[in-house]
Amino acid sequence: MNNAILKVNDLKTYFFTSRGIVKAVDGVDFELRRGECLCLVGESGCGKTVTALSILRLFDSPPGKIVCGKISYDGLNLTRCSSKQIRQIRGKDIAMVFQEAQSALNPVLTIGDQIIEQIKLHLPLDHSMARDRAITLLSEMGIPSAERVMSYYPHQLSGGMKQRVLIAMSLSCDPQILIADEPTTAVDVTIKAQILDIFRELKARRQMSTLFITHDLAVVAEIGDRAAVMYGGKDVETAPVSEIIENPKHPYTSGLIECLPDTSKSTGRLASIPGATPNPIQMPQGCAFHPRCPKVMKICRRQEPPETTISKEHKVSCHLYT
């Protein structure tokens, strides 16, 4: 595919801790295409956030290290870039929206200062031009009286507002790619709907290529074009969102979908996936999901499943389909 704007190949990011090697990301492959919203889905500890952090090299090193793999963006391999190069890409070409708006904003600087700082760092604009740009962005995000909000400190804003400020900030240098790490997780349902609306609009108006990280499959269904389901540091299934939801192949994906309490049918017991997510220091042998899998076979305990192609757009790593 040549319309891929970002390609991640066999990425492995390990953390070398005193208690052992945490294989947070252990062989992830995906591509983000121009103008699409790709969702990385998975439970806590599956490596979805570390994958995103690896793209921008935002984790602490040591203990973290990208041990192998390739992240191609615009002819560059981001894993090989110098830290100076990556600093120029961060925020300008690839921007990120973090989960907790509260901790992503600096509490002792005004909203205006924080946005202007980033604009002036990356774009050849003077202070007043940068200021105008910041105000325009804030009002585009649906923040009322944006000029006044510029002089506010983060604690004066509500959770939903802070999240909007963060999105405005991430868009301030017209990035090519937006990485959003659980931007709707810490907010209430009505605010969640507002934030999702912003992302929908970004896609429609700016053709933004978005890597959207979430654990919520319903959110995926709402805004995603394609989704990659992650488990134990690997992507186990990648397909268009409608395929994932209507025709999931990996037992983990179907388990995730079945165990959601559905608002339309409300009787009986919920299906559940037994056990808990594995300890990343001692990943199970073979397929990482096998101890919890309802369709486990002999081979699953011994051998890691290769990626199998179900259809052109649908790939799954499971021995059931090899």
Partner: protein
Amino acid sequence: MKPKSDHRLLQIKNLKKYYPVTAGFFSRHIGDIKAVDGVTLDIKEGEIIGLVGESGCGKSTLGKTIPKLEEPTSGEILYQGTDITKLDKRGLVELRKEIQIIFQDPDASLDPRMNAGDSICEPLIIHKIGDEKTRMDRVAELMEQVGLETRQANLYPHEFSGGQKQRIGIARALAMNPSLIIADEPVSALDVSIQAQILNLMMDVQEKFGLAYLLIAHDLSVIRHMAHRVAIMYLGKIVELANKKELFENPLHPYTEALLSAVPSFKPKDKGRILLRGDVPSPLNPPSGCHFHPRCHRVLPICNQQEPGLTEVSEGHFISCHLYR
């Protein structure tokens, strides 16, 4: 399980909980945060009531006020006819055998220096139930009931996963054979695949022991799965109360409508989504009249002047809105 009878286990009447706000050197009283502002609700034996609302609406404060972990400002809470708000210390100890709480964050609610067995045993010791031997047996029995292995009794909280920690919390709550459990966001801190396990467990013990739950949650799909009746709260007040089927199929209050339509879902919405403007206002300085009017999409001229009372529009369906007067 359906409610056993129409017998009212708990009646909350016009309950208020205000937190005073002070300012300045002399701690001048400048206002109140009206966390719970006149809530009337009853819970029947064996019934699951779902309490839904956004953060800051007072749902957790209501949950904490019932077993008097928070001192109510005014109003009555009748448990089997006795007014909890007037109980003395000894009366409260007795009462808390009957009403137990499961908290949201099992990490914060379990003592990190106490092993699982001791944690589960603690309520038995506090209430002086049985001797050491019978307590041990009871702990083993409880652990089995919540799906933990007896040999895990010696492990400490950090050695358990989130779901298992919540199981310990449930075992603790069950230790006293309560008749009402207040579950404050019991699954919101858990992963999806674990949520289902805990919800199933809660359903199982409810059925087995005929418990009543006050299930506090912001996740409407969880409420829809579990509850018999649902109460929607907004800024300290209940704005709509109905049985589950009625509330989800025929929501009347504009806030309930918006809340239901805001839930992301697998199926594309046939109707357009009702997108609420703005945020929940501060409970320190709530809007005049109906607290919801600045965000309401069906606002009337009267809404900013007069507060609508809770009225029964059809059997068991209560709503507080000027549209239905």
